[in-house]
Structures are given as structure tokens and as C-alpha cells.
Amino acid sequence: MNSLNAQEARDKDRGQRAHLLSIADLDRDEIEELLRVTDTFVEVGRRPIPKVPALRGRTVVMLFFEDSTRTRLSFETAAKRLSADTMSFSVSSSSLNKGESVRDTIETIEAMGIDAVVVRHKSSGVPAQIARWTSASVINAGDGWHQHPTQALLDAYTARSHLGSLEGRRIALVGDIKHSRVARSNIEIFTALGAQVTLVAPRTLLPASLSAWPVQVSQDLDAVLPTVDVCYLLRMQQERMTEALVPSLREYTATYGLTSARADRMADGAIIMHPGPMNRGVEIASEVADRPSAVITEQVANGVAVRSAVLFTLLGAGRLQGSGTAATTNSSKERSIQSDSVLAEELAHAEEAT
């Protein structure tokens, strides 16, 4: 490996334990565990008082260099459900100082005493950089074209709630893969959970190289659509028109849009997903977006529970645990051990001594 300096290696190691920067950093067990813990928070959300004291006294900061009211509110709600305090800095409210470097911003905020920072930025890699400059837990809420891990988790959770296990399921990701952090995260989470992923897009909207991912590629949506359990549509942005990537929105919709006719040809039980906000009439016909098979509003609802699970796991569980979490495979013996906090502490000390 070429020239990874020692400091970076240390940060990388730390990054994999205290942060959620990318789905690629999680192994299958960790993903399954986060989805399992999401069930608990779905239940919390249904209570008359949807609140638990788990993260009382912790502070979670929203650091949104790129606007997204919906994602920010979802994270804020998720934090408040855990009784954490929240602070919000966003470009739209001008609470982020223009001209101040990202590093200075995070160091100033950290001086106020924070436990976690949720970051969204239009440049890929900023959450990873921030993780080098703070000891707080960093959660990537979307960085450039790179990753949107909590979106992928809520998408996987929603798909599973309809289809059961995703092992062997066929999932089509349709649209502007090249510029989509949602696509990158979803490719990784769906393949990690055993699904077969097919990318459907004109070649201009595919990444330059697909060798990093075990995916199929097709330019023929009509051929792929009847074979899939999930049709996941990506937003087609207006800006792409000026970059010679597709000739026109009309041509895009004709070739890759989920029209009523195409939606009719989907298999029974197949679902339609979209990260929102939808361009009705472009990537999805307006009428199709309102069908029962379109689960877009469920995705949004699940987002809060997923984000609570992530916050709790990072701040409450101490770290994302790999296959060392025997919790799901424990015998009842170890469960009665776990319910006993003092004993566990003694054992932890004993552990360190050996």
C-alpha cells in the first residue's frame, strides 16, 4: 500500500469504531444489528410519549453545510427521542460563518462540549476529514457523491419490512448513479445483505468504473423491471441537462422513467422506492408515486427510527460492534449476566487485568 502515513492509519482505525461515515465501513453483522435495533425505536415511536432517557445529557450537533430540512429534522427528532440535546448549524440559517474553514468551525463547536456531530456537505470526504479533527462521533448525513449511510439503512429496513430477508432478492437502482451518494450507499448495503443489484442507467450516468461493486448493469429498464422485487428510483436533477449527460428530460423519462405502463408490468409484491424529493413526471409518474406499492412515505417514517438506532449505537453502546456482539446469539445464561450492570463492570475490569 502506498504511503499511508502513521497518523492516517490511526485515524482510520478510530474512524471505524466511533463514526458512521460509509456503509463500506460496516460488516454484515453490524448492518444486521443496526436494523435489529431499529425495531426497538420503531416501537418507541409508537408510544404515547415517544421518548426514552437513553442519551440524556448528550449533545448532538447538526452541521449542515448543504441544506436539507427533511434530513436535518429527521436527525433532530431521532436525537430528541433519545432525550439528547441538539444544536443546529446550517447554511440556510447563516449560523455557519462564511469564510470560516471547516476545521475552525468544528473546533469551535467542539469547545462547547459535544458528543456527536451529524454532517452534510456538498464535497465528498468532509465527514472523514472532520473525524480527524474531533473526538466526537461523526455521522455522515450525505457527502457529495460519496455516501448517505443512514438513507441506505432506512432503505434496507423498509425493503425488509415488506420483503423479509433480502438474501437473493433482486433490486434495480435506476437513474443517475454517477452523482448519487444514495446509490453508492445502497449498492453497498443491498449487496452486503445478499441481494442482487442491477444498475439501470444510460452509460453517461454510471460511474467511470464499476469494478469495486458486484453489480449488474443494464440500459434496458423494460427488460429488468418485471424481474425485480424492488425498483429504486433516483432523482434526475435538472443540472444534468447542461452537462451533456442526457439529451433532455423528455428522453430520460421515455427511457428510464417509471411510467404507469412500466409500473403495471412489475411483479406482484414488488415495491417502488425513492429517496425523495420526487420529481413527479420525470423519474416517476405522479400516479405511480401514489400507488400502495410505492413505499416512499414509509421510508421517511423509518428514517427517524433508523437514525435513533445509529445515534444510540454510536453514543450509547460505546461503539459499533462487529461480530463481537454475541448479543443476538447469546444463550439465556449470558443474558442474565447482561442485565446486571455492576457485575458486568467488575468483569470488564477483570478482563482488562488479564
Binding site: 500500500m1 502506498n2 504511503s3 499511508l4 502515513n5 502513521a6 497518523q7 492516517e8 485515524d11 482510520k12 463500506a24 474553514s101 471547516v102 476545521r103 456537505h121 464535497s123 465528498s124 470526504g125 468532509v126 472523514a128 476529514q129 457527502d143 457529495g144 457523491w145 460519496h146 455516501q147 451518494r181 453508492r184 460511474p207 467511470a208 468504473s209 464499476l210 469494478s211 469495486a212
Partner: protein, 430 residues
């Protein structure tokens, strides 16, 4: 003119373009006055176990003065150069103001005269490097400028490049090109490939460099001009240059140490220290560059030393300025990556870092054979000394070093510029 004390460099392996011999060198009044055995002098430099070579010549260094003196000055860049064994550097013109007229050339040369290294400068091909209008090359040539480049960017317009070649060749001047087709590289920040896809960063394909190499080879054939290709980074470029040379064309080319040491995988953690133009490429490109240097189709190693302030390199990857330091590390990297890898001998590396670049730049005082009468521009290298590169303690005013933590071998012990011992025992003397 200060008269430096007579110095004898004893017991070294004397390597130059004619081969290797062992012996002593006596320097007096800025020149080599004797080469042989048992020589005596006022100052004694023990070169036992060391290589004594003509000083290295860097064809490509950004000294940032005038305009960005907080990142580097001609003085500090010169110090970094001599620590790396360089007795001459060729400064790039993308300063503020651009080095595109006699006045700025004069300023740079004057600052260079006071420094510890022999600082030469390129001139821009176009005014302001804007790619629209030819710069006054004759006026700059009158001050001694021999190489012209718009480095930082390539000349995009075909017709303008043709005219520049015709005009320059008429004056016996050399054009050097930073090969990058802007329409393919605009908005990108790394090599387009598996890593750019994975990292979600816009990348430029190898073709954005190769298309301009192809064009310039064709135009050079058309105009008969001498063209030097800067910082070649792709397998395709190396192949194009080899083919052009095979046809007997007068083209030369350089590669930077980072392109035979690092790949695009280094961008994994979004550390903009690894951001550079042309970008770090794939492993197969790296191998091709090594092979081309070994075969001689790439003539020279040039550092493309590019200082940047720490806060600029902490910007998001796509916003950070491109460039990395190189003057103090190039020789050690060449020994570690090229000689230890078995691709080249130490003598071949020195050819690529000393006498061949001296010839390309038209620097008659450098890269000379170690014989009586030549100007004493030398370096003494301990080829067996192992050391670990770190970001602190360098002479450059900046710290953007991508090799931190890398173990290398080969350290410059002493450097002599026109008879003055500017580096002694690894320390700059002024």
C-alpha cells in the same frame, strides 16, 4: 564575488556521464582544479562510502515568489533544493504576477542570485498564462530564459500552440507543456477510475493528458519545434513519447517522484495532501512510468515541488489546491523506488536527475563531467543511509508532504554550488 576556501572531497565514488571512478576532487575558486588521489585542501570533506555526483538539476519547481511568499520564497525553496542535492532549479511561471515579461524575470533572477541554489526561471508561453496571446519570449530570452511553459495549465488552443512552436523554434527556444485538456479535466480532482468511483469524486481520464501529448507530438512534427513534456503520469503518455523518439523526433519528457511512488488509492481518506495535477494514477500507470524512466524514454525526474499552506490542504478534497512538496525527497525516493526495485542503477538515476535535465534546460554549468576546469556544482550522497520522511524539519516554508512515515534510503550529505559548500553534513549553511 566571495572567494570560498579550497575544498577537497575525499574518497568518494565519482559518478558522472562518463562512468564511475573513485578518488578525490579539489575545488578552488568555484571550479574543479584537480581530480585524483591524495589531494589536499583547506576544507576536508570525507566522502568515504558516498557517491560524488554533479549536482542535481530540477526542471520543475514552484517557488511561489512573487505572490505567495507565505508558502515558499525563492530563498526557502532554494534551501530545500540544496538539501535535496540540487544545485540548480528551473522555476515555474505561475506566480502572481506571472513570469511573462522581462521585468518579472529580472526580479526572480535577482532573488535567485542571493539564494543558495542556482535559480533559473521559465517564462510563460502566453500572457498571464491565459492561453490567448503569445508572451514576449524574445525579451525574456535576452535575459537567459531558455524554456517556456504555461505550467499550471496547458495551452488549449491548437492554433496558438502551433504558432508558439514556430516562434520558439525560430529563436532556438524550448517549449515545455503541462498536458491537460481542460474540457476533459474541468471540475475534476483525481484520476478517473475505480477509486474516483468509490470515493464519489469527479475524476479525469488518462486521455485528458494523452490527447495533448498526441497533439503536441503532431504539432512538433509539423513545426520542427523542440518540445519537453512535463510531469508525465500515464502509461499511454509514456508509450506515445517512446514512439515519437523511435521516429527520431526531438522530444524530451520528465516524470515526478510522486508518479513513481504513489497511486490514486492514496486518496482513500480524502487527505488533500495527495491531490495533485496531473493526479496520482493507477498502479499500472505507475509501473509504466518506472519502466519508461528505466528505458530512458522519459529522460528526467523533475520534482514539481508545489508548496501549499496547511489550511488550504485542509479544504474539502475537491476544493483544495493541487500539489505536493518534492525537492528534499526526490533523490531518496528515486533510490528507494527505482534502484531498490531493480529498475535502474544509481548512475542511471543520476543521469535522469542531473546531466540530462541540465542538457534539456540548456544549463551548461551543471551536470558536467567531474573533470578539471568545470564549475564546481556537486553533491555528495550517502546511498546507504536509511531515514524516515516526516513533515517537520524541512527547509520549505510549507508542509504538504505525502510521504510522511515512509522509510527511504539515500541522503544528501553535502551540496556545493559554484564552489560554495551550501550544505554541510545535512545542514544548510546560510
Amino acid at each position: 564575488m566571495i572567494r570560498h576556501p579550497d575544498t577537497v572531497i575525499k574518497g568518494g565514488r565519482l559518478i558522472d556521464a562518463s562512468g564511475e571512478q573513485s578518488g578525490d576532487i579539489l575545488i578552488s575558486d568555484g571550479h574543479i582544479v584537480a581530480v585524483g588521489q591524495d589531494l589536499q585542501g583547506e576544507i576536508l570533506i570525507d566522502a568515504g562510502g558516498c557517491i560524488v555526483s554533479p549536482g542535481l538539476v530540477d526542471l520543475h519547481a514552484h517557488l511561489r515568489q512573487p505572490g505567495k511568499e507565505e508558502t515558499e520564497t525563492i530563498a526557502s525553496g532554494a534551501r530545500a533544493a540544496v538539501l535535496g542535492g540540487y544545485t540548480a532549479v528551473l522555476a515555474m511561471p505561475n506566480t502572481t504576477p506571472t513570469i511573462d515579461c522581462a521585468a518579472v524575470v529580472r526580479e526572480v533572477l535577482e532573488l535567485g542570485r542571493e539564494s543558495v541554489c542556482d535559480v533559473h526561471t521559465t517564462g510563460a508561453i502566453t500572457v498571464g498564462r491565459a492561453g490567448e496571446q503569445l508572451a514576449p519570449m524574445a525579451e525574456m530570452a535576452a535575459l537567459g530564459v531558455k524554456v517556456f511553459t504555461d505550467d499550471g495549465t496547458g495551452v488549449q488552443d491548437d492554433r496558438l500552440m502551433r504558432r508558439a512552436m514556430e516562434y520558439a523554434s525560430g529563436l532556438g527556444l524550448t517549449l515545455a507543456q503541462h498536458c491537460e485538456v481542460n474540457s476533459l479535466s474541468e471540475g475534476t480532482c483525481m484520476h478517473e477510475g475505480e477509486w474516483s468511483a468509490r470515493l464519489g469524486l469527479p475524476g479525469q481520464p488518462s486521455e485528458s493528458e494523452e490527447l495533448m501529448v498526441m497533439r503536441d507530438i503532431a504539432l512538433a512534427r509539423l513545426t520542427g519545434a523542440k518540445i519537453h513534456f512535463q510531469h508525465m503520469s500515464t502509461a499511454g503518455s509514456a508509450a506515445l513519447i517512446a514512439a515519437a523518439k523511435a521516429k527520431g523526433m526531438s522530444v524530451t519528457a520528465e516524470a515526478a517522484p510522486h508518479h513513481f511512488t504513489l497511486t490514486d488509492a492514496c486518496c482513500e481518506h480524502y487527505d488533500a495532501t495527495f491531490k495533485v495535477h496531473p493526479p496520482l494514477r493507477s498502479q499500472s500507470d505507475l509501473e509504466a512510468i518506472k519502466n519508461a524512466l528505466a528505458a530512458g524514454s522519459l529522460d528526467a525526474i523533475a520534482t514539481d515541488h508545489a508548496p501549499h499552506a496547511a489550511e488550504d490542504k485542509e479544504l474539502p478534497f475537491d476544493q483544495a489546491p493541487p500539489g505536493m512538496l518534492g525537492l528534499e525527497y526526490a533523490l531518496a525516493l528515486a533510490f528507494s523506488e527505482l534502484v531498490d526495485g531493480g529498475a535502474m542503477t544509481e548512475a542511471e538515476v543520476l543521469a535522469a536527475m542531473s546531466w540530462r535535465p541540465a542538457a534539456i534546460a540548456g544549463m551548461d554549468n551543471h551536470g558536467q563531467r567531474l573533470v578539471v576546469g568545470v564549475p564546481a556544482n556537486l553533491c555528495v550522497i550517502d546511498p546507504s543511509q536509511r531515514w524516515v520522511i516526516d513533515a517537520t524539519g524541512g527547509a520549505s516554508l510549507s508542509r504538504n508532504v505525502p510521504y510522511v512515515g515512509k522509510e527511504v534510503r539515500g541522503k544528501v550529505r553535502h551540496t556545493m554550488v559554484f564552489g560554495e559548500l551550501v550544505v554541510r553534513d545535512g545542514e544548510v549553511q546560510r
